[in-house]
Assembly symmetry: C2
Homo-oligomer: 256 residues x 2
């Protein structure tokens, strides 16, 4: 008769695996010889091969144990394991495809229309710094307000088709390098506030939903350059003057 090692070697598993199957009740404990060694008959080989086949297919051991009952039940279970296996193969292939896109740098975190929009910005004259900032902004917006983000994005994308607004955005982009005392910043702030009021009245889209978004933008901008910080400060001052709804989030917590 077979020792545990011979059984395990023949089927291609470790002795530990066989013992685990005994402990889990998958494989019946065989007789012991006079020194306490397990002694297996040939049917244990057949049974162990069956178990390994199912385990290799990813069936949990607990389910394999319950499986052996009736032949119809077993056939049904095998059917189900088969479709499950097909699904897993498909999922692996999908993963492989996405991994290759990742390696090629074509990974898209944002919806593809947003990625397309960002990809078009360099041609309009925006700096990489600005684009990176905007990209981060949209990631945050889509993560925090998935139901609003599309609307906000459509508005933003559409506003770039207006040459005047586009020039304001471009000017803001390039204000990054300006000295905080540059008088151009005052003029730019005035023009931005005027354009905003013309476009939205005193109630900008999204402002009724969550005050965190403007805060967020502000923080991102301010951290980046003194010129931007000054520009933001000017805009906020002008907005408040004309009663523009620019609530600061309570305690400023959301923007910390």
């Amino acid at each position: 008769m077979l020792t545990i090692g011979q059984l395990a070697r023949y089927v291609g598993v470790s002795t530990k695996t066989v013992r685990v199957y005994h402990a889990k009740g998958l494989l019946p404990e065989p007789e012991r010889d006079s020194s306490g060694y397990r002694r297996y008959a040939a049917d244990a080989v057949v049974e162990l091969v069956r178990i390994r086949m199912l385990a290799d297919a990813g069936v949990p051991l607990a389910r394999i144990r319950e499986l052996g009952s009736t032949p119809e039940e077993l056939a049904l279970a095998v059917q189900q394991i088969d479709t499950d296996l097909t699904a897993r193969i498909k999922s692996l292939r999908d993963t492989q495809r996405r991994l290759r896109k990742l390696a090629a740098g074509e990974i898209s975190i944002l919806p593809s229309n947003v990625e397309d929009h960002l990809a078009g910005l360099p041609a309009l004259g925006f700096t990489d710094r600005w684009i990176a900032m905007e990209r981060d902004l949209w990631i945050i917006v889509y993560a925090t307000h998935p139901e609003l983000a599309d609307t906000l994005f459509q508005d933003q994308a559409q506003s770039l088709t207006d040459p005047e607004l586009r020039n304001l955005y471009l000017a803001a982009d390039h204000a990054h390098a300006l000295d905080p005392d540059d008088p151009f910043l005052v003029e730019l702030a005035d023009r931005i506030v005027a354009a905003s009021i013309q476009r939205y009245g005193t109630e900008p889209p999204g402002s009724d939903a969550d005050p965190a978004i403007p805060d967020l933008l502000q923080n991102t901008l301010n951290a980046s350059s003194p010129g931007w910080q000054r520009l933001d400060s000017l805009i906020r001052g002008r907005m408040a003057d004309v009663g523009f709804t620019l609530r600061t989030s309570p305690g400023g917590r959301r923007a910390e």
Copy 2:
């Protein structure tokens, strides 16, 4: 900024998963706000997506952590993960194929030539009981003595092509149903011993390698019917009389 829940939802994982990635050093711990909540910036989303992609591909988290160093190294690693993924897909498909064979009852534990040999036995007049016994015997032989088994099997298969020997085996098969006192058993034992000596001299193949195999056969036979037990006993007696090498394993331990 994002809370852990927003980050997790956006990427499609649980908050626990994100915390685990922090604990394992995969994702840097972000700043905390005044109440101790984690606050994430947009780059955490990008990083988390990258980690999930690799994790989905089956890369262990410990390896993902070591991965980020140089771009060439990463490209090489991704290359390797890709081939690994291909191998896993192939292995799953093999498993699926074997599972279908299992479901169809076409599973082969033994080498295919042995299975073919067994499949041919019914046509020669052997009973299912004999074939099942022989199958078990070959499983044990291949498991215990993989290097000898092929030689022994070739000899056995070849001996069946001799009509006289084949008739002896058939007679032994059908002796299962005989009464232990049937005089035919004595005659059959004589003929088997004579044929064995004619074929092998007094040194049967495999006897010099391990005495367990004859013991094994004996035990299997004896457990099955009184007729067989008697036949075996007669054969052993005759063999010993003529000096045939039929060692019993020391203490009989291997056959327990």
